[in-house]
Symmetry: C2
Subunit: 346 residues, 2 copies
DNA sequence: CTGAAAGCGCTAACAG
DNA sequence: CTGTTAGCGCTTTCAG
């Protein structure tokens, strides 16, 4: 691959000579304590810089200073609204702090994630943000890499992974799902099924368990649980399976995330049924698509943008190493779970 | 047995001494022409690096080499599926080439974009990718900044902005919309309205114009044009306005992008109407939400992911400076525009 | 093949 | 306030 020579960018020295001052003065005028340089020279330097179209070499700055103005953000999938919202929040927070965001995507592969952390470490970023829950439970290698980074003075913050010993911003998946269950029971529903993701996925587990807990608290039996992929197609497939088997009095299906729920709705329509009327559906996350679908999807709102933002703050503040910030979720009842008729109460 | 001092990462020299070789050899073993170092020393160095958890300081590497292994990606809005898909494609391409992506978002502000280009230039990235169409037509300052970057050996590629003198990957918005119009006319539609974005937005203009051209070719009159925001709320507002004013025989509304179309569908439902039945709707982009809504949205498919990918390739190849890659769009007819009854053909 | 030495562009003590 | 002098961590001639 062609190595484009960056040779001809004007350097600090160019600016300095152009302005008739020393490199040190130029540096001070452009960055350092602006206070200590005379107004005239300051103007001269600024003018020279503008004339030459000077842009400081950030790499050189970084090596000289020993620290960078960047934040490394690792997420699993940019095309997923869940992650891109977190990323948007993180970027906003970073920019507010005058930091640039470097970003890499893992495609949900733990191996790739490990590799990325290792590479990113080379950038000596101010902080590394892990933006999403991990697939597996095997953190050993990742933890070691992170450990090394932190030992060298780096900061780490994690979104939605209460498993690592770093500042973490998360939500209470269990509680959110429990509240949803309670609200749905109050709406008159009694016969549920749960569409859940792979068991290894902590998030999925917590949400499914929370939902069951909510039902249990209302004195209801544990519902059917169908395991499937954590994706829209997964939701579609699971619902199709459910339909094949016969609904048999089922009133509401809770999918552990919105995309699954949306897939389930699609399966219903494919079978000639109307979501919300023939079978109620609820999801989790409140991605923007939740209000685009018809009927609008009942779900649990997750403050994704805020999570990204808070993760940055957590990393930058750097007080309590293991601090956990738990952001509140909100049950959002929409048309996919209309108030249920009383006579179905048993 | 040298222990890395707490608070800083092990350096190349640390690895070198640990392995009992010179820094130069360590450098060669870890990066340079692996050929020129003896197998034993190679092994020694690798082992030492692993033991110390060494991660090369990329900034230092960059200053020494004068070039970086990064690509700077500038995007308008990460939460918008259109841009995040482009970004995902770009990231994929960059990673395939062993490059890291640095990313900044402009929030659709030209000033911010300019500022960002200026800052990014300081990173001396291998290439800068502008990932989306610009709001205004005033490129002067941006062009100058980019010019300076390129003069210093940087590469630039642009997505969807045929206005700048750089490698550009784009789609034929005009043609795509024209084809859509033709297809819809063939479906029996005759009375249209167009929801368009701000006039300054080139993309919006081209799509609206293309649609009109398609109708004109079929011998139909120019339809109503409503200008609004380029967002879902904009689509909602415009459609609401349209409803207030009375549909008056209107059969189909074409919104210049999918999010606007989805907003319009929402407005319809808010008014108690059924999209697709009472009024047909079509959009442009084919974002994933287009298949989530009910009825599924007729639209023009844009290969966003591929655009991001090609932009990287274009930048990296660096042959023709002003090369324009035009990716094909595809009309996708879905349920939001059912075949129209013949008797409405007037 | 390998080490010594000279930078890369910038910052940060130190004297003046 | 400002110039001089050292580096930052790494790469890369240039001799051996």
């Amino acid at each position: 691959m062609t190595e484009a020579p960056t040779g001809s960018s004007p350097t600090l020295r160019d600016v300095a000579t152009e302005a008739g001052v020393s490199a040190a003065t130029a540096s001070r005028a452009l960055n350092g304590s602006t206070r200590n340089v005379s107004p005239e020279k300051l103007a001269l330097v600024l003018q020279a810089a503008a004339k030459l179209g000077y842009a400081p070499n950030l790499s050189a700055q970084a090596t000289a200073r020993g620290s960078t103005k960047t934040i490394a953000l690792i997420i699993h999938d940019l095309a997923d609204p869940y992650f891109s919202s977190i990323a948007a929040g993180a970027i906003e927070g970073a920019e507010a702090a005058g930091l640039t965001v470097t970003m890499a995507v893992t495609d949900r592969s733990p191996d790739r994630e490990l590799e990325i952390v290792s590479t990113l470490r080379g950038h000596r970023p101010h902080a590394i943000i892990l933006g999403g829950s991990r697939i597996g439970d095997d953190h050993a290698a990742l933890a070691r890499e992170l450990q090394a980074y932190e030992a060298a003075g780096g900061r780490v913050a994690v979104v939605s992974q209460p498993a690592l010993p770093y500042g973490t911003v998360t939500i209470d998946n269990h509680h959110g799902a429990e509240e949803l269950a309670t609200a749905l029971v109050a709406h008159g529903y009694r016969r549920f099924a749960v569409l859940r993701g792979p068991d290894a996925l902590r998030t999925s587990r917590d949400r499914a368990d929370g939902f069951l807990a909510g039902l249990a608290r209302a004195g209801l039996d544990a519902p059917d649980r169908i395991e499937t992929e954590f994706t829209e197609d997964g939701g579609h497939a699971a619902m199709t399976r459910l339909l094949d088997r016969g609904l048999d009095g089922l009133e509401l299906v809770f999918a552990v995330n919105d995309v699954m729920a949306i897939g389930a709705m699609r399966a219903l329509r494919d079978a000639g049924l109307v979501p919300g009327r023939d079978l109620a559906i609820a999801g989790f996350d409140d991605i923007s698509a939740a209000t685009d679908v018809t009927p609008a999807l009942t779900t649990v709102g997750v403050p994704m943008h805020a999570m990204g933002l808070r993760a940055i703050e957590l990393a930058l503040a750097g007080n309590d190493p293991g601090e956990v910030v738990r952001l509140p979720t909100t049950v959002v009842l929409r048309d996919s779970t209309p108030r249920h008729r009383i006579d179905s109460q048993m």
